[in-house]
């Protein structure tokens, strides 16, 4: 078909091409006859749905009332659709560029490594996986639980190398009035304490794993020296319930290793760590009032990793999954373009003294420009209609934050609202967005053929 087009065009208006006789009348009929099946299929499966979508988009949900451009107006006024538009814009700006750049880097590098083919194979491998499967894989990759999600396993692993977690994460005072949260973090007594007194510091909410293997029973502190403050830090919760709050009961465990500080005017003047019986002694104190503090370091929650699929990160996270899938495709196309570059141009530049970076920037990239454009435009078309990854990866709570036009189109038409009018309008809108990129690609193909 394209051949006929190129051959007819030079002839132009009416004058038959000199090289070929005008087709005989019966020949023309025959041509139409052969074209008919394809034509019918195109009409029924491509043209008619487009025309019907445009038509349907002018009607309301019931399909009976004509509302003109009402559905299109809703696209731009509805908050949900607006998020979808915004996300699509982010996708179009980021994903194709990222895929093309990565593809270029991979293509250039694989030309130079000995195991290039193996590397290419591995980078290309995700293409062999369906979007659905890739979506499910990445849902697990981004799982919040570091034991399941590899992304958070890496993040928490790196984090824990640099900072160790607290001994009693999440533990808190039994009586929040006597031991309120301190400004500097942790907890400090509301009242001041004189040296020579005993201060019980009951805690609750201590996780089972945080307790020592065989915890000792908590003990009441004895009478302290005149310049010291003593006391007990213990888990004020008896297994199975019971026991009086704030009292050291028989079966309550001591909490060893808790740091206790004595504060005077907000300054730390003494510090002690509880022993196996949960006892601490703060010594060498001058007479006067002190606040006792349990610094935040005792209770810091363990680092739980990054909430990849939370509303803030969900779109970038899905874009990464997309890039993982398509970088191989870009690499193969660009690699083919690279192989077609005349070697003598590169050699000539090198002989003229250009370094590798200059060769890449001034020779390779300009010569590759047509291929890069094709990749970029193909990716833009591909990204505009992105559906599967977003639909699968985003959990329900982030579904709105990750919304894109194609998903919105699906959810208003089939996902519940059953509004085919608005759905069609979104479809037509998406079609209009893709159209320029498609026309551009078609024009390029024509130019190449000439």
């Amino acid at each position: 078909m394209s051949q006929t087009a190129t051959q007819v065009r030079p002839g132009g208006g009416g004058t038959p091409a000199r090289t070929r006789r005008p087709p005989a009348r019966e020949g023309r009929w025959l041509a139409w006859l052969f074209l008919a099946p394809a034509g019918v299929v195109l009409l029924a499966l491509v043209l008619w749905p487009i025309v019907y979508s445009v038509w349907r988009s002018l009607f309301d949900r019931s399909g009976r009332a004509f509302i003109g451009l009402g559905n299109y107006q809703r696209i731009f006024t509805d908050a949900d659709t607006f998020t979808a538009l915004k996300n699509n814009l982010i996708w179009v700006l980021v994903a194709p560029a990222l895929v093309t750049v990565l593809g270029l880097i991979f293509a250039v590098l694989t030309e130079r490594v000995r195991w290039g083919t193996a590397f290419k194979l591995i980078v290309f491998m995700p293409m062999a996986i369906s979007f659905l499967a890739a979506g499910i894989i990445f849902r697990v990759v981004y799982d919040q639980d570091p034991d399941r999600g590899v992304a958070n396993a890496v993040v928490t692993g790196v984090h824990d190398v640099f900072s160790s977690s607290a001994q009693y994460p999440g533990a808190r005072p039994r009586d929040a009035d006597a031991l309120p949260p301190a400004a500097a973090g942790g907890y400090a007594t509301a009242d001041t304490v004189e040296p020579g007194s005993t201060v019980p510091l009951p805690l609750v909410g201590v996780e089972g794993d945080a307790l020592p293997e065989d915890p000792s029973a908590a003990q009441a502190a004895g009478e302290p020296a005149a310049d010291a403050i003593t006391g007990t830090v213990w888990f004020d919760f008896a297994r199975g319930g019971g026991g009086a709050p704030g009292e050291i009961d028989d079966n309550e465990s001591a909490l060893p290793g808790v740091v206790v500080q004595a504060l005077r005017d907000g300054e730390v003047v003494a510090e002690a760590t509880t022993d196996d019986q949960g006892l601490f002694v703060l010594e060498g104190l001058d007479p006067g009032g002190y606040q006792l503090a349990l610094p935040a370091g005792n209770f810091a929650q363990p680092f739980r990793g990054v909430s990849w699929l939370g509303p803030d990160l969900v779109t970038p996270a899905i874009i990464v999954a997309y890039v993982w899938m398509w970088a191989g495709f870009a690499m193969v196309l660009i690699g083919a373009g690279l192989a077609a570059i005349p070697r003598d141009a590169l050699e000539a530049a090198r002989i003229d003294g250009a370094n590798e970076w200059q060769v890449f920037r001034l020779i390779t990239v300009p010569l590759l420009a047509p291929v890069l454009t094709v990749v970029l435009v193909t990716m833009i078309i591909n990204v505009l209609k992105i559906f599967d990854l977003v639909y699968i990866i985003a959990p329900g709570s982030s579904a709105q934050a990750a919304n894109v036009i194609a998903v919105q189109m699906w959810s208003v038409s089939f996902g519940g609202a059953q509004d085919f009018g608005l759905g069609s309008a979104l479809g037509v809108f998406l079609f209009l967005l893709v159209l320029p990129a498609m026309l551009f690609n078609i024009r390029r193909f024509r130019q190449e053929q000439q």
């Binding site: 000995r114 888990f235 959810s411």
Partner: protein, 470 residues
């Protein structure tokens, strides 16, 4: 240099690939456990529809002796067709119910399974003038729809008398459209059950609470004991709507519940505010809800309690038992148990679902079958087999194969007229049934920030107005 970079990247990719493979592999559901005499034949992926709880393998003799209750006529030579969504084990057990009808009447009943989605199967058949004689619909909305199209036949007085004798009036109302009685509620689901890790509650010395205040106190005690009390499936909006429905039904009462369901009162009503504030006592309390709730889907919310030990309690309907049996090592009845959703207002209430039998023809045989389905004899056959909860109050609860399913059924019957159908299932699905939209999204936002009651109410009202078109 360049080569080593390439190889390093390649290795990293390979590692990432294998890590992914390993991770997805670890998820294989455990084998069905039959320790407590219950196996699980289906694990609901989305949890929403399944009404099957546990299926007792202590099969007792199927048919009960005929002739009790409704006297069935002789229907030799008559042929009937029954359509429902049940397949597999459920189909087998329902066929046992039909077999007993065949034996007693001499009629031939053919069962057609429609698969999960019954509406697209029934609608064309109704329009083509060839509907089955009897079909089981999983939602009141469908009943209304078919009644509205005059496709259903009103039940005869005999059938009505059987229903009056065996059901709480609420079930009759649920089967009535514009004053005509069309439906017999044969199967029910109880969505007012809170499932807990027995060991965690024992360690905290907590006994199952009976009022909402007790529940909040119990949650605090569990939290003090060092265990996070709640696992909430914030990634699946429908679990949050069920939370809200339980609180609202018990607090505001069934009448208000019905009005809110039909959007006759706005979502900015003070009763909604009160319910949301009540919910916030648990959703918003420090350390009550396990971290990462918004990323937790329903099956994970269950495994977080019964496998990973992240939390002590999880709320959802009777089908949680299926997930516990299918995906965790915990044994329902030993390691895992449930208590009814506590009373928030004066009386406890039960939110649930069910399958309603409707007649598309009005022959003597069809009506005899409807009458039979409304009788306790029909329900008891399946009750004894397990995986079935009957809303029929005359059913002998001793026949349930285990304590858990008996408890679920007794809770449902005891609620009587305080039973209400799942609100979100009765609303336009754009509002009550779409991920990321309407009530699902608004309650997700509320879980994320339980202090913003006003904002959530405004958003609920705006979305409801849009979906109801008023």
């Amino acid at each position: 240099m360049k080569r080593s970079v390439g190889i390093a990247t390649a290795t990293a990719l390979v590692l990432a690939l294998t890590a992914c493979g390993g991770d997805t592999g670890t998820d294989t559901p455990a084998e069905d456990v039959g320790d407590n005499g219950s196996t699980v034949d289906e694990t609901p992926a989305d949890g929403g529809e399944s009404t099957g709880a546990t299926d007792g393998s202590e099969a007792t003799e199927g048919g009960t002796a005929g002739g009790e209750g409704a006297a069935l006529p002789d229907l030799s030579g008559e042929e009937l067709e029954v359509a429902a969504v049940w397949t597999g084990t459920e189909q087998e057990r329902f066929t046992m119910v039909l077999d007993s009808f065949e034996e007693q009447t001499g009629a031939t009943v053919q069962y057609t399974s429609t698969g999960d989605d019954i509406a697209p199967v029934l609608t064309p058949r109704v329009e083509g003038g060839n509907p089955p004689d009897v079909a089981f619909l999983p939602q009141p909305g469908l009943l209304n729809e078919f009644a509205g199209r005059d496709a259903l036949k009103p039940l005869t007085e005999d059938v009505e008398a059987t229903i009056d004798a065996n059901y709480a009036p609420v079930w009759k109302d649920l089967g009535t459209v514009d004053g005509d009685l069309y439906g017999v509620w044969f199967k029910a689901a109880n969505k007012s059950t809170i499932w807990y890790d027995v060991e965690a509650l024992d360690a905290a010395g907590v006994t199952p609470p009976e009022t909402w205040d007790d529940l909040v106190t119990a949650s605090q005690t569990v939290s003090d004991s060092g265990v996070t009390p709640w696992s909430v499936a914030g990634a699946d909006g429908w679990t949050l709507t069920d939370w809200f429905e339980n609180v609202y039904l018990s607090q505001a009462g069934p009448d208000m519940y019905d009005q809110l369901t039909n959007h006759e009162i706005p979502w900015t009503d003070p009763s909604v505010e009160e319910a949301l504030n009540t919910l916030a006592e648990i959703w918003g309390a420090d350390g009550f809800v396990a971290e990462g709730a918004l990323q937790t889907d329903f099956p994970t919310s269950v495994t977080r309690v019964f496998s990973s030990g992240d939390a002590a309690m999880v709320y959802e309907g009777d089908f949680v038992a299926g997930v516990i049996g299918g995906e965790t090592e915990a044994v329902v009845g030993e390691d895992a148990n449930f208590f009814p959703f506590p009373a928030v207002g004066e009386a406890p209430a039960v939110v649930g679902g069910g399958d309603v039998a409707v007649a598309f023809t009005d022959t003597e045989a069809t009506m005899a079958l409807m009458s039979y389905l409304a009788s306790p004899e029909a329900a008891e056959i399946w009750v004894a087999e397990g995986g079935f909860t009957s809303p029929n109050k005359s059913v002998d609860t001793a026949l349930y194969p285990d304590d858990i399913s008996r408890g679920i059924a007794e809770g449902l019957i005891a609620a009587g007229d305080a039973f209400r159908f799942d609100m979100s299932d009765q609303m336009p699905s754009a509002f009550g049934g779409t991920p990321g939209q309407g009530m699902w999204q608004d309650l997700t936002d509320f879980l994320a920030d339980p202090s913003d009651v006003q904002g959530v109410m405004d958003s609920l009202e705006a979305n409801a107005s849009k979906a109801y078109g008023r």
